[in-house]
Symmetry: C2
Subunit: 302 residues, 2 copies
């Protein structure tokens, strides 16, 4: 189970309604930031999320609408007395760019910032999840990311109902592989635990529809795909997708849900982009600034 809160859903430049690209993924008390457009710290404050909970930032690529919020966010964390390390992941040149950004001006950083450059297929392994980078096709070095919760073992809820059991503190021991006893009922892990598959999320970053995204998004619980333009409309920048492109890719990858984001500033109303996508992929949703989604047991809760 995890939560996604969009902080910026626009592209190129912030507008009155949409800041540039960023969202936060919350998982077991940790906040992971994907991209950090200008003003991301304002949106974080509006969403009530603490910047100090952010442990990792994943940058998709170095166009300004994806990273101009970094220095403001980092030095506000520093003024806020953060001492905990922050790790920034991104494509090649991330180290050079972050070092330059943080060296401008006279502010002193009070906590360590580690920068890790990722290549296609590289994976970050944590206790309860993994994040895998994959190369996408945008122009400059650009990555997409696959976040995957690890499968867990949980008490069989059907069996619980049958035995009229309610949640119990001892269940933790059972989950940790120990036999327990409740009201004379002996419960062995091998009898009572069932596998719960983890949920997963793919973030495309900026890209044309590409095989690497399709591969990463295979059967994913939710695909967050850029949809800068409406199908058939003039594209100011090459290297982007339409909402129909995103929907076709979601269908091909058999993703369970699709959230559209990174809209061109020309779209004050994004409903036509949603309608276009829904013609091929009905489980499509629109992101907007400060909107949250809960992803739980294969389902997307809006």
């Amino acid at each position: 189970m995890f939560e996604v809160i969009f902080l910026g859903t626009g592209s190129m430049k912030p507008t009155q309604k949409r800041f540039t690209t960023s969202f936060v993924l919350r998982h077991e008390g940790e906040s992971i930031l994907f991209d950090a457009g200008e003003g991301v710290q304002v949106r974080l404050s509006q969403s009530g999320l603490s910047p100090n909970k952010i442990s990792k930032i994943f940058i998709s690529h170095f166009h300004g609408d994806h990273f101009y919020g970094i220095p403001g966010l980092i030095f506000s964390m520093s003024h806020g007395e953060r001492t905990k390390k922050l790790t920034i992941y991104g494509p090649k040149k991330t180290r050079e760019f972050i070092e330059k950004l943080l060296s401008v001006g006279y502010s002193n950083l009070k906590f360590p910032v580690e920068v890790i450059e990722l290549k296609n297929g590289e994976r970050i392994e944590e206790e309860t999840y993994t994040i895998t980078a994959f190369s996408v096709e945008h122009g400059p070095p650009a990555l997409g990311y696959l976040f995957k919760e690890k499968d867990t073992k949980n008490i069989d809820s059907k069996k619980m109902k049958k035995h009229k059991l309610t949640p119990n503190k001892k269940f933790r021991e059972l989950k940790n592989g120990k036999e327990i006893e409740i009201d004379g009922l002996k419960m062995k892990p091998e009898d009572w635990l069932v596998d719960t598959p983890g949920d997963s999320l793919v973030y495309s970053g900026d890209t044309i529809p590409c095989d690497n995204t399709t591969l990463a998004a295979k059967a994913v619980t939710v695909l967050i795909h850029e949809s800068t333009y409406l199908d058939g409309e003039t594209q100011e920048d090459r290297g982007h997708s339409t909402s129909l492109d995103a929907a076709k890719l979601a269908k091909k990858a058999k993703a369970k849900n699709l959230i559209l984001t990174h809209f061109s500033p020309r779209y004050l109303d994004t409903k036509p982009l949603l309608e276009s996508a829904k013609t091929v992929f009905p489980n499509t949703y629109l992101s907007k600034d400060l909107k949250g989604f809960v992803i739980k047991r294969g389902e997307l809760v809006v």
Copy 2:
């Protein structure tokens, strides 16, 4: 006559109500930006001002709350097809900092950005105004700025009334030093033109109350002075002023009006800062994001 529109009036970090420091001075179709905190392009858009009208940016000093909006603003101008030169003025190291900022990432600038570093007392001379930099006392190299309209010659309005004259196209020739004739009345420049003193503005940047600001603000139409704190309250950062400091300085300099800005994020309500200042300098006003002031013939119009 000129206009001031505040784009950000907070300090340290943007809050939900206040972005960090920036204001625009509009004078005869030209927009001059003083400082450029994060999100300045959002506020410009909200104020309905065109970023392309901005010819010059004056940076007071290189703390993030005064310049993090620069890359976003400049590359949005560039996407907006600007070709006209932009000049950025600031204290020493401005060139190094701006070059670094603009070299991060993969965006290409489509217009020239000129950087000019100013020393204490250096003056920019334009046809209708001058801007003079002065050193202030903040810690890192920091400047304040004095904007001064040049005195102009205008038709004597009392004499016009007496002769029952209404505005006339020929007056332009008279202003340019030529004798004109209206309905048989011969009008000589030396008889009909009177001196109109230009208005002036001082922006303190970030500073403790200092002699250079007092000197620059002598008899100025409006002094925009930082007032980070309320008198008597704990100061997180040294190198700042209270609203009472600003008011005492305005009084000493015999400024006509004082506008307070650069409030600490701790002040959700800034009225106490205003009240404190008014005890020694009644013509004090509070800035807030998107608030405009017109400065005309020695008067401040709120």
